[in-house]
Amino acid sequence: MLIELNKVVPTPLPDKVIKSSEIWDHNLRIESQSKILISAQSGMGKSTLLHLIYGLRHDYTGQFSIAGKPAKKLTFKQWEKWRRDSISLVFQDLRLFPHLSAQENIELIPEINPSAPSVEEMVDRLGMGPYLQQLVSSLSHGQRQRIAIIRALHKPFRILLLDEPFSHLDKSNQILACELIKEVVEQQQAGLILSSLGSASSLPFDYKYKL
């Protein structure tokens, strides 16, 4: 798995942002199993980068390829397969289903990751056991973030994208979540890209970029 960005600039993005970025309008190679931290303030394009890789946005200039294939030439079916089998994303806005329980949200994925710990174990490790049957709409944002992380880990992936995943977690819960993420990513021999407002989490990273 190799993701390459050559002189990629999303549109529209202010020139000022592009000039100060270490990624936009630069060449970036994301190797398999790379652990990357993208830190920037709000509005610099963190989510945009993750959405480009996830195939949600195609409005950019420059070259962007996945495993040697230009992303713009991937068919919808190939994107579907990419999202189903190879990539998992914790959305900044989580994209949980509020009318379903926490457990139902975790289970509502097209395929499960056979090498990931069981749902029960992950839930217990993140302290969400007592809330599993509760409707997501009744959970706090921090609790929802943990459910979204568990759902992302429960699904198969070769690269895990985390879009400000700990913004509403306290320090101890961040540590618990990072430990679980690190373990599952290593087990999977997968890559990781985490976007953050600036503060580095307790995860070990191979590369750190500023947007």
Partner: protein, 464 residues
């Protein structure tokens, strides 16, 4: 990796109530459209089968000489009879199997038909009528009571089956005193037959059969021969101008009068000419030679092997004859009924098309209302096929209710129509034919395919 597609969870995310009003309108439109389409289809088949079963034979035709001009022009002319030579020529034409002449009554006929079954009870249908006869071999069948002799006061009458239909569908519905009649009931109606000038004789009559072949009011040949001799009146063919010394003497004289004058001494010097052609003079004695006038048929029935041959049609055209298919009105009825079923089918198809369009729009709205959840599911890696399937199954559930409803409504409508048809002595098969059911199935498949495409396209548009 084990798939854990949880349909009930997926459904709970996508089965949002939807635009109830639009869906109700689409469902009702589809229900009525489909019902109408189904009924039209079945009606077309029933009508075709009924007409085929009740249709007169196709290879019997009548032939007559063209009558041109109005009453005043034709008053003095002889009737347009076929001469023995002409009959022989027609008989020998290619494709002609046999021919027979129609004999007509030469006396006035008035009938009183008593629909109540008893003379004097209720109202009688009164009509001035004509009688014709043809050789028995041309009848579709010879009823048991189809006989007559001079001692008999009962006259068997055969009318076209179509007359009974006219009675049942034309006359009876417009007159409260006339009931609709089955063939059996119509056969039981007493008929008073008044014949001759000033109703000289009254006979009892009855419809003994209803012909699908001959479009005329038929009586046995033996009766008509007897009645013509006894009650027959001279016609224009029996009157002549009498010529004395190269000038016409007085008004036209009947054959009978001329025969009475034959004893006069100058009779053999006189001449006569027909009314239609005064220049064609002949010795008055020729009247005596001819004796009783030989009446040649003016209308003949011919049976052809299949449809009329080109030689026959050419001969008819060249000779100025008219060829009439027996019961041409059946073709009109057939056309009218087929037109009706086509009209019904057209309206049904139009309603169905509208309902397809409404369904499509409604399902776009259904998907639009579930957009957020559908998009999230797609982002989680669910395929468009999986998402579309949920919407499509929802459509199928509703559509199968509509189809079942159409089937039940169609059955109920047909049951009602069957009842009405039975009252009019029309027997139609009950229920729907396998063809109708197969076509309904095909229509359902087509409808589903169209809506599946619409759903897939709408889901496709959710994310790029």
């Amino acid at each position: 990796m084990k798939p854990i597609l949880n349909h009930s969870l997926l459904k709970s995310c996508l089965e949002i109530a939807g635009p109830r009003r639009e869906l109700t309108i689409a469902s009702l439109g589809c229900l009525f459209g489909t019902t109408l389409l189904l009924l039209a289809l079945q009606f077309f088949q029933d009508v075709t089968t009924y007409l085929e079963q009740n249709e007169g034979p196709k290879n019997y035709f009548t032939l007559n000489k063209k009558v041109e001009g109005g009453a005043l022009v034709n008053l003095g002319k002889k009737a347009v009879h076929f001469s023995p030579e002409e009959l022989e020529t027609i008989r020998n034409l290619e494709g002609v199997k046999r021919i027979g002449g129609f004999m007509r009554n030469q006396f006035p006929v008035t009938v009183y038909i008593w629909p109540t079954g008893k003379v004097g009870m209720g109202s009688a249908a009164k009509a001035d009528l004509f009688f014709e006869s043809i050789p028995d071999e041309f009848l579709d069948f010879i009823p048991a009571s189809w006989k007559w002799d001079e001692n008999s006061s009962f006259v068997p009458i055969m009318v076209p089956k179509f007359y009974l239909d006219l009675w049942n569908f034309g006359l009876a519905p417009s007159r409260v005193e006339y009931p609709t009649l089955s063939q059996e009931a119509a056969s039981g109606m007493p008929i008073e037959v008044f014949i001759g000038k000033n109703r000289r004789a009254t006979l009892d009559g009855r419809f003994v059969a209803f012909s699908k072949r001959i479009n005329s009011v038929l009586v046995p040949e033996s009766f008509l021969t007897w009645a013509n001799q006894k009650f027959g009146q001279p016609n224009t063919g029996d009157f002549f101008f009498l010529w004395k010394n190269d000038s016409i003497d007085g008004p036209p004289r009947s054959r009978k009068e001329l025969m009475g004058m034959s004893q006069e001494s100058a009779f053999d010097t006189w001449e006569i000419s027909p009314l239609g052609n005064p220049a064609n003079r002949a010795p008055a004695l020729s009247v005596l030679k001819t004796g009783d006038k030989i009446i040649h048929p003016s209308r003949i029935i011919l049976e052809v092997l299949d449809s009329p041959s080109t030689a026959l049609l050419t001969f008819i055209k060249e000779s100025g004859y008219e060829l009439n298919r027996e019961f041409p009105e059946q073709d009109l009825i057939k056309k009218a009924l087929r037109g009706l079923s086509l009209g019904m089918g057209g309206i049904g198809a139009l309603l169905s098309l509208l309902s397809i369009a409404t369904f499509s729009t409604s399902y776009r709205l259904v998907i639009a209302q579930a957009t957020e959840h559908a998009r999230n599911l797609l982002l989680l890696g669910f395929s468009r096929g999986q998402i579309s399937q949920i919407f499509f199954y929802r459509f199928l559930r509703l559509f199968s209710w509509v189809l079942t409803g159409s089937f039940i409504l169609g059955h109920a409508s047909k049951y009602f129509l069957l009842g009405q048809a039975t009252k009019m002595n029309i027997t139609l098969p009950s229920g729907f034919s396998p063809e109708s059911i197969i076509l309904l199935g095909a229509y359902g498949v087509l409808f589903s395919i169209i809506n599946k495409r619409v759903i897939e396209r709408s889901v496709h548009d959710l994310i790029g």
